[in-house]
Symmetry: D2
Subunit: 374 residues, 4 copies
């Protein structure tokens, strides 16, 4: 009987939205089996939640050290092979570090760490240990995002001139936005930025993933609209790319009424493309000399880059979980083969931290442009 890849979790206890997504995504294709996790700091609660998840109760651990020693005590063919880290931000670094040092592969939620120094240390550790590492930027898993990247790489847009990305949510428009929100606006758990770290980095990461360009300098204004909030809940950033292209990121968590409105528009000198996360099956292509074309997941004219990341025929909507699952599928293969797959790396996590630091510094200062360290 063939063995599935065995996964542990750090975080994702009762009530955590993203933890449940990780579980559904990891198991969607039937190749990964959840075997254990740290589902809370209270040993009894973690145990009980493990049981609820149909796991052996004793593999519901109370902290990362317990999980590491517990799993190392098991025979290799039963032991977890990688851990999915989906705790609040400030735990990413110490947990990922401990796991890598103990010889486990790691898939880690973004942002990688609390600052670029931590991030760089982690990058070094990945090199030294040779373990597989994936930074979970789930939006890179959408089939039509892969398709977009492939079109740009093939030169279909020509030279990229302008990138316009909007990411707006309304969930933090009021002071009381619930438990899920609390840690995201607490500097101790989130780091130096709120909105820009939480969603602005999705924009930055996706732009670089899709275009292959690197952001060279930023001019930014972060704002905090809700009284008493310690971190930014809104921000706009002008972008200069290494290639000479320009761009704008408009990110907000106080955009009243917006659910998860993430829109990517990329203009080249030959053609342009547009993608909406809330309508992810379409990729809109425009040019100055032909009708609008809408490429659809699963339909002729949409290429292999999308097909490889797709499970259903066209017209049978896929969504967020499937995109997430694409990353897991690639990471399972990476664990199996011990060769990295085509997903955001620890280096992308370092770049992301430097982007945040540059944006915050620029927003606090008087200079027009701040370069991003590479």
């Amino acid at each position: 009987m063939r063995q599935k890849i065995r996964m542990g979790m750090a975080g994702g206890g009762p009530g955590a939205f993203i933890g449940a997504v990780h579980r559904m995504a990891a198991q969607l294709d039937g190749q990964i089996e959840l075997v254990c996790g740290v589902f809370g700091r209270d040993p009894e609660k973690s145990r009980r939640f493990a049981e609820e998840l149909y796991l052996e109760p004793e593999r519901g651990y109370a902290d990362i050290d317990a999980m590491i020693s517990g799993e190392l005590a098991l025979p290799p063919e039963k032991r977890m092979q990688f851990v999915s880290v989906c705790t609040p931000n400030h735990c990413h670094f110490p947990i990922a570090k401990a796991l890598l040092e103990a010889g486990f592969h790691v898939l880690c939620e973004k942002p990688l760490a609390m600052d670029s120094a931590e991030a760089a240390a982690l990058e070094q550790l990945v090199k030294v240990t040779g373990k597989q590492f994936c930074l979970m930027h789930n939006y890179t898993g959408f089939p039509m995002i892969r398709q977009a990247r492939s079109l740009i790489a093939a030169g279909e847009l020509g030279t990229i001139r302008k990138v316009n990305v909007e990411y707006s949510l309304g969930w933090l428009a009021s002071p009381n936005a619930g438990k899920q929100a609390a840690w995201r606006v607490d500097p101790k758990q989130s780091g130096i930025s709120g909105c820009m770290a939480d969603i602005g980095t999705h924009a930055q990461n996706l732009i670089e993933f899709v275009t292959g360009l690197k952001i060279d300098a930023v001019s930014a204004e972060l704002a905090s609209f809700v009284p008493g909030r310690l971190l930014d809940d809104d921000g706009s950033v002008l972008l200069r790319f290494d290639s000479g292209a320009r761009g704008v990121i408009f990110a907000s968590e106080v955009a009243t009424g917006e659910e998860n409105n993430f829109i990517l528009k990329i203009y080249g000198d030959k053609a342009a493309l547009e993608w909406h996360e809330q309508d992810p099956e379409n990729l809109i292509l425009r040019s100055n000399d032909a009708p609008i074309r809408i490429l659809r997941r699963g339909w002729p004219g949409t290429g292999e880059a999308a097909a490889l990341n797709s499970r259903l025929p066209a017209g049978h909507p896929e969504g967020f979980i499937e995109a997430f699952a694409n990353i897991y599928r690639m990471f399972a293969e990476a664990v199996r083969s011990d060769r990295p797959g085509d997903y955001p790396s620890v280096a992308d996590g370092v770049a992301e931290m430097r982007f945040i630091e540059a944006v915050v510094a620029n927003s606090n200062g008087n200079e027009k442009w701040t370069k991003i360290e590479r």
Copy 2:
């Protein structure tokens, strides 16, 4: 350690689109475990496919009798509890019959049988055996379809006057539409109707599910546009409901360029609603005295009926697999509790066969209206 519900499959071998969907949907929530299946008529192939699915190879059976006897030989806590039947249509009846008689619960793809006599026999058998039975009409699992039903039940649309349903695909527009298509246009495997049985019944079922009305009589024209095709590949049906409401079903599998364009429009004397399967997160509500309202899955103003069938916050698209999984989640609960859940029943399967028979009879005859037997 808690036990998941154990599922067997009949059908869904290598290359079957809908079989893979059944597996992903069944396992999405981590409550159901696939343990065995008939994945093909060749014992070696079925065994190999079981292995590919991380099952014990010997639980890849070559026919339904082997599966029944093989599973009955296992201890109860290991034995499959229900079977998901996703074979071509003509096998639904004999397989479901054998399983019920052997004491297993059954989840069966639509249409229930090859004719209404078989269907009625199955209905009787379900009563006699007392086993749980679910007719898989996956579209009834969409959160916003549940929301639509709930709005209508609460009287928000007033008295329903008109129902306009369109279901069009282009995949059979050419004579050679591939292997998936072959059995669907073969009367021996599909029954007396092609397009109307394949997708028209989705329309009929969803209309009755959402409105609570029953179709009383039909006036229909089936057509077969591709030369040499033995079954209808297109059809339109005028509907009269028991309540006095009227309707139209427009179904086609030769609607060139359409992917899976399933649109439901329901007009009451107070308000109207519209839903598109390809954009399933929206439910559009219209009235004569207020702005258009778009209810969104996960957003305030959308009620419990949707929330209970939803996994993610608004703006994080859910799709086809999640809708499918909602039915499985309810059926797992039915198996666990031995009480039927809120999904299409064997009786709905009988109604569906009578609808097809009435449509075919009317289309072949000269009378204006044909009543549907109840």
Copy 3:
């Protein structure tokens, strides 16, 4: 100084929605000048309304005879050249007849007459008098409708198989729908049909205009949902075309919440097109082997048929008035040159009456299909 074409009006007095549209449309391009009209049966009111419209007050006439004799008394270079007839339906025939016999060109609102006998008489009269005659079917004036017709004529869709047209409004959902509605549901003013004559004929006309096919037989159900209403307020019609194509018209004036939801979907064996009156700048083209294409008015890839009926660059929305004005522009040219233009003719008006008569007969009877007389 060059002379504009001089227009009179019959109907379109104070408060008449469509009368105001006729005036705006006629004058949009600055080639037609309104010079007189019958704006009401009360001489003083008609006179006052003429004055309000900046006309010579004495050219506001109280009936068609007064207008004919009044205008004939004027020198030819001042006299009206054609009359736009936009009265309730039952006046179309006598007024158009009088005008043709007096030597004036006529542009007449649809439906042409109260029955096909009247319509045929008018067709004969147009032949005999040699006057120019335009049946105002404004939807044929939309640029992207012209484009659709041109694509079909060029064979881009291949052989047409199915036509699915929906035209739904909610304005008559309640018993009291205002003054504009009153005459439309009165058999004395409207004829033998309400909804089907009012909007179903738009569907029938546009289908024949765009596809070039002729409807050969119908199977219909008309309904009257509002108690006490004497004419149909809803109807569905199955269509058989002379070519073997099939179709459906779904028309309703009790489709609560719908404004003017006129949707045309045409499926050929090579490709398909879709057009929405409420979003008229787009023509959606689908096929089984390429991405969706959206042809836009004014944009490359959209051809001459649209360009000739367009005034603005792409992205500067044109609408209903402009479409209407396209018909007027062509009719002005017809009056100037005394040669008919590319717009619906008196023969189309006859076909339209025969369509209504067949639909009503079929709906009242028991036979499945009723042929349309040609």
Copy 4:
């Protein structure tokens, strides 16, 4: 016989897109009559074009002085009352000045002048002469823009926090963009800015019109992507408002494939609205506690502000010309009553020039923010 308001034109000769729009818009409601114009510098050509427009040929003048003296020589009841100025930018100031000084009312295309000094001089002149003056910002004439303004004024959005405006076109993506483009990228005819003056000012004006807020400071980057181009063809501007609100304008004329993609998103602490110029009949309203509402022109729930600027029932699309015509209708009333109407004023024209100057200065410099002079 009542007299229409008599209009002259400066500019808008053969081939000028916007000139034709001005004529159609001015005459749409039948209240304004075009009587004369300067349609080119060549007397014969201007005369011929006047004739083509059904004017007295001698009222096709070759320059503004000829028009002024020619018209002053006519009896008052025949003489033009106002002039519509739609020349290239550098002529706006001298022509408007001459007309005001000669006692004529003026409707002038934006931008008002070549710099803020000229603009301020014109503002002064309007005060001194007491003549009516309208700055044509046509987008302020859209019914749903009026509706948006009215909702904000009524507090329905609460305190405005963020404004996100995108205006992108692709027409200048290549070096050779045709004759209409030539003067727009020539500093001598256009002034110190290209894209930002041409379309960025539409964004700035519409933001201030709709929200009632004033932009206080800008941080900008202008770019010129096409080699050899002397003025900006793209730009992004971060905005700070006097109220503390923030915003972004993203404007581009090299956004390949975009037609006239002008999108306005305004977020308040209670609700948010969204409007698309290419889909102008909708106003999308979002909040954190209710379904999305789509207000439609002409439909219940949309208020008087839209109704007053609307001509057709809902579902009969109005567009660009009608919006333009709304401004003309108000200006005709202003000329008739000698009281200013509700449209952009000469003061708005001054504000617009100062905005451009601040943006250009900021883009050329190193300081983060540049205040806009008031």
